[in-house]
């Protein structure tokens, strides 16, 4: 009997480990709605009224300016699950009538969102007008500067530069979240050394003002807009939509209203596969590691 005891112990541990793993996975997996209604999208980003994109500092990538008042295709009402359909006017870029819409719920201070940013940019470049990306704010409570960053992006949006500020915030998130107030790798960082923690928001605000200057925004207006009710309402509207979809983590992506699992947006290739699955009519399943559609040819 003693001869088989170790194997019994090992088998028991294996079963417990597998069972615990599966239970933990079920418990911790995203509780976000598997589908989200695709709503008629009208851009919240007005046409830029300030300097053209070409005059922006090199650190700022150019973005596609989408004409306002373009309406996205919607899913039939019968297919729409519960969820706040109209969360104000969201920001989007890409093809105004693109067959694929990625709706991202993000937080500028969230590191996985920052990691997703360059991949999504690559995918945007690959698909061009066939893809539209919508960004919605979901600042997490644990990130102390996330709301301020969302306000900065919205304040820039009121001057037609939401996406430029969005890009700048993500590109430099590793810096401003640590109190480094410079832009781009070529400048020497001045790390905050002795400010008490409570002074940090003020410093981060100063960093965002510098970003506004870089984008050649009207800085005085930007300052006022950051604290305005208009900006707050815009963020609250996105938050309400996120809450209605039970989103509890960032980034959370929906492709044409279908929740994309975390694994499916870890790389450009998996994003391609998920988008191609939608384009070929094979919608990605929640929790799937990646759709099985044959990768299509990005432009």
């Amino acid at each position: 009997m003693r001869r088989y005891l170790p194997f019994a112990i090992i088998s028991a541990v294996l079963l417990i480990a597998l069972g615990t793993g599966l239970a933990l996975f079920q418990w911790r997996k995203p509780r976000s709605a598997a589908t989200a209604p695709l709503v008629p999208i009208v851009s919240a980003t007005p046409e830029p009224t300030v300097a053209p994109a070409s005059s922006i500092a090199p650190a700022v990538p150019s973005s596609t300016q989408v004409p306002a008042a373009e309406v996205a295709p919607t899913v039939p009402a019968a297919q729409e699950p519960p969820g706040t359909a109209d969360a104000g006017l969201p920001h989007f870029r890409g093809g105004a009538t693109a067959p694929v819409t990625i709706e991202e719920f993000g937080d500028f201070q969230c590191i996985p969102c920052g990691n997703l940013f360059p991949k999504l940019k690559k995918v945007e470049a690959d698909y061009g007008e066939r893809l539209r990306v919508v960004f919605r704010h979901k600042p997490m409570h644990k990130h102390e500067h996330a709301v301020l960053a969302a306000r900065a992006a919205e304040a820039a949006g009121l001057q037609g530069r939401f996406w430029e500020m969005h890009d700048l915030l993500f590109e430099n998130s590793g810096r401003w979240t640590k109190g480094v107030d410079t832009i781009g790798p070529e400048t020497s960082p001045s790390r905050r050394l002795e400010s008490p923690l409570l002074a940090m928001p003020v410093e981060v605000r100063d960093v965002f003002l510098r970003y506004a200057e870089t984008l050649k925004l009207d800085v005085e207006r930007f300052k006022t807009d950051m604290d305005s009710d208009e900006v707050k309402k815009r963020i609250d509207a996105d938050q309400a939509r996120a809450d209605s979809l039970a989103i509890d983590r960032t980034p959370t992506l929906y492709i044409n209203g279908h929740l994309v699992s975390g694994n499916s947006h870890r790389s450009v290739e998996t994003l391609h596969a998920a988008i191609d699955a939608v384009l070929s009519g094979k919608l990605p399943d929640e929790g799937a590691s990646g759709p099985t559609a044959t990768p299509a040819q990005p432009k």
Partner: protein
């Protein structure tokens, strides 16, 4: 039989049991990291502040397989071999040494990545590193204090 020979041939079931126990803790840690990776959860550290940086970095997975899954496999292998060694199964100690050796090399590499590439540490990774170092110490103690009686003893009878 001299005292030295007796010491050399002393079985080490307690050390192997301890190794099995440590492996269980490592297994739990690795399973947790694997699940958080698969669910896309943002892990919050308690003692350090770099969990997100480390666990969402390019070094946190091999292809689409989270590194934690490899850790779970390694810890389960270490647990199984340590259990078998505690029950004096032939060759178990040798394979345990090989598995723990591989884990030690991987751990040292990951510590290097955290310290010099990512400049961030994560609690769960440091716990795993501590467990692997402890396992390595146990294996080294067993190895350098001579052959255990485990290898010489016949298989336990049922």
């Amino acid at each position: 039989m001299s005292d030295t020979q007796a010491a050399q041939e002393r079985p080490r079931p307690r050390l192997f049991s301890l190794a099995a126990l440590l492996s269980l803790v490592g297994l739990a840690d690795s399973i947790y990291l694997t699940i958080t990776h698969l669910t896309g959860e943002d892990v919050t550290c308690v003692a350090s502040s770099g969990c997100s940086e480390v666990l969402s970095s390019a070094y946190s997975s091999v292809g689409s397989i989270p590194l934690g899954a490899f850790g779970a496999l390694a810890y389960f292998a270490a647990f199984s071999l340590a259990t078998l060694a505690a029950f004096r199964y032939r060759h178990a100690r040798k394979f345990l040494t090989m598995v723990v050796g591989g884990m030690l090399v991987t751990t040292l590499w990951l510590l290097y990545v955290q310290a010099f590439v990512l400049h961030a540490f994560c609690d769960f990774c440091l716990l795993s590193a501590a467990l692997t170092l402890s396992l390595s110490t146990i294996v080294a103690v067993v190895h350098f204090t001579g052959r255990t009686a485990a290898e010489q003893a016949p298989l336990p009878e049922s």
